[in-house]
């Protein structure tokens, strides 16, 4: 390497794009309709939640134990690779979740995009979405409401794969005997949500 090459390497360049420039990319991408999946992370009493929305509506709420990077990779594969951190689209979901955790909201008024689930699973989620604050159903109740009373295990699986926990309240589905059952965010979080709604299990 000679002097010229040393001098080229020694040139100091900016350490990266300024914040405003990056924010401009996100803003322009949104305006041009190039963001198929927008996401952000929000603080909650259960840790940092990942929220993701398509132009249709909220498509994903994920817990830390789901692995945010893994969830984003999954969304890129199943919905679209045009996944961008664009918090503005999630403003309303963030606000409603905050209100819910602070005890100031009992139901969500968010448009959902449930295109990640189909068929029976979708019907299980629809039935679950109808369970009110502080109420609870059994896995069998939900299976029946989805059109197949005997498919209790399938209903459990569908709830375990609920892409929008908390908002579609799968934590309100318990075992027939009153047992906790399972939960996509871990049983501690299920207990926490039930406690928030005045139930102890």
């Amino acid at each position: 390497m000679d002097d010229l090459e040393h001098e080229l390497k020694a040139q100091r360049l900016p350490s990266g794009p300024p914040h405003d420039t990056l924010a401009g990319v996100t803003e322009r991408a949104e305006r041009e309709g190039l963001v198929d999946v927008a996401y952000t992370t929000v603080d909650s009493p259960m840790g940092e939640l990942l929220l993701a929305a398509t132009p249709i509506g909220l498509a994903r709420v994920a817990y830390p134990i789901n692995g945010h990077d893994a969830v984003l990779a999954d969304l890129a594969r199943r919905l679209s690779p045009r996944v961008l951190e664009a918090p503005a689209r999630l403003d309303r979901a963030r606000r409603e979740l905050d209100e819910y955790f602070e005890g100031r909201r009992r139901e969500f008024e968010l448009t959902l995009d449930l295109s990640l689930t189909k068929g029976f699973s979708r019907r299980v989620l629809d039935a679950t979405a109808a369970i009110g604050f502080g109420e609870q159903l059994s896995y069998r109740d939900v299976a029946r409401a989805a059109g197949s009373e005997r498919a209790v295990r399938a209903a459990g699986n569908a709830l375990g794969a609920n892409p929008v926990p908390v908002v579609v309240p799968c934590h309100r589905v318990l075992r027939s005997g009153g047992g906790l059952g399972g939960y996509t965010g871990g049983l501690d979080n299920k207990r926490f949500l039930l406690g928030l709604e005045g139930l102890t299990v």
């Binding site: 090459e5 360049l13 990266g16 794009p17 300024p18 420039t21 322009r28 190039l34 890129a76």
Partner: protein, 163 residues
Amino acid sequence: MTVLPPFQAVLDEHRVDVYRYLAASVGPVDADDCFQETCLAALRAYPRLRHARHLRAWLFRIAECKAIDVHRGRARRELPTDDLPDRGAEEAWPDSQSALFEQVRLLPDKQRAAVVLRCVLDTPYSELAHALDCSEPAARRSVHEGLTKLREGAHRWTTSSTS
């Protein structure tokens, strides 16, 4: 089926180098705009990629197209590269307006891209070839030719940079 990572992950991984590449290639006045154009063009084309190999080189190739647009625009306007940014930007841009970079920016497109990627950003030749869309020997040649041109003009920038 093609599995592409989330675009944000690609951007996070490479945005610093893409920005530095543009800073060196087009200078402080146009780098921000050029960077945004690069990201948007990449985002537009992203779902059509057939594989996720060489994403970094792919981004550099798009950035280079945007840099060429800037240089063509300048040539059309017959403006030299003397439109300096304001005071604040000058401080944030240590050497990007150095006499040496001024000379680099005057190189033919391919040589400029080759010299910046190789000598400023340390890009391996295998990746350089992908970024320049040519063979590895051709990439080496472009670097060599660019450096030779800079050496020929060396007395100009060494005298002016010490003034």
